[in-house]
Amino acid sequence: MDVMTAIKGRRSVRSFTDQPVDQDMLLKLLEAAVWAPSAGNGQTWRFVIVTEETMMKKLKMVSPGLLGDPPAVFVIAQDMALSKQKGGQMGPETLTKMDSAMAAQNIMLAAHAMGLGTCVIASFHPGAAAKLLDMPEQIVPTLMVTVGHPAVKPPPPKRLFEEVYWFEAYNG
């Protein structure tokens, strides 16, 4: 699949079949994640992949944005202490969020190319998720990505195009 097709074809999927996602597919997605750019090549991201039913149930309880019953969830966390060390104040405040988003998009595009559906999730309680996942204090969940075999093919929400760009200088 060429990149533009993957970019335009990826949708946020919130309904999955019961079929689990093979571990080698999950590892492939992890590989896609770590090939994302990161500020100063800091790579302060840390990933926990949840596939087991009990933990999934608990995670859903603290993640109102996690919709449907995905067989796998990537919890993209950041080592905030390491990020401060590498990126100064800007690290934990800003760069970690950007780095996580880059990794999330790589996961989603690679998954789409593999026929899988995904949805990126920001609506969860980071402290509660960290506690359930046994994360030490400096590891903070920043985003989640659900992964599974799509049960539906959602229609593409409208995109603005002509009204969102200018060449050379802003002219709104």
């Binding site: 859903k60 309880m61 603290v62 109102p64 609506s123 969860f124 309680h125 959602p154 929400p157």
Partner: protein, 98 residues
């Protein structure tokens, strides 16, 4: 569903509502109405699985499920969905649910 299974499902719903309450302090305003109708739908599902639902409750749930993701669409679409859902419920008020 046994009592423990029922309590478990209700606990999951309670947790969804409580965490939503906290997160909604900082989330986009329209996530509030979304979580409310989604909670209604989840509650009906739990009742249904426990054999305690009714035709009208199931109809309300199906109506919500068919339109709730308009929350990610335009404001008009979401408002329209909520408005029609209100009248869907109103029309069912006088039905016994049997």
């Amino acid at each position: 569903m046994d009592d423990k299974g029922f309590e478990d499902k209700i606990f999951g719903l309670v947790s969804y509502v409580v965490v939503s309450a906290r997160n909604l302090l900082e989330e986009p305003a329209r996530y509030g109405p979304f979580r409310l109708v989604d909670t209604a739908s989840r509650l009906i599902n739990i009742l249904d699985e426990a054999g305690m639902s009714s035709d009208r409750l199931k109809a309300v749930r199906d109506k919500i499920e068919a339109g709730k993701y308009s929350a990610m669409g335009t404001e008009e679409e979401f408002e329209q969905f909520l408005e029609t859902t209100v009248f869907f419920v109103v029309d069912a008020i006088d039905n016994t649910g049997d």
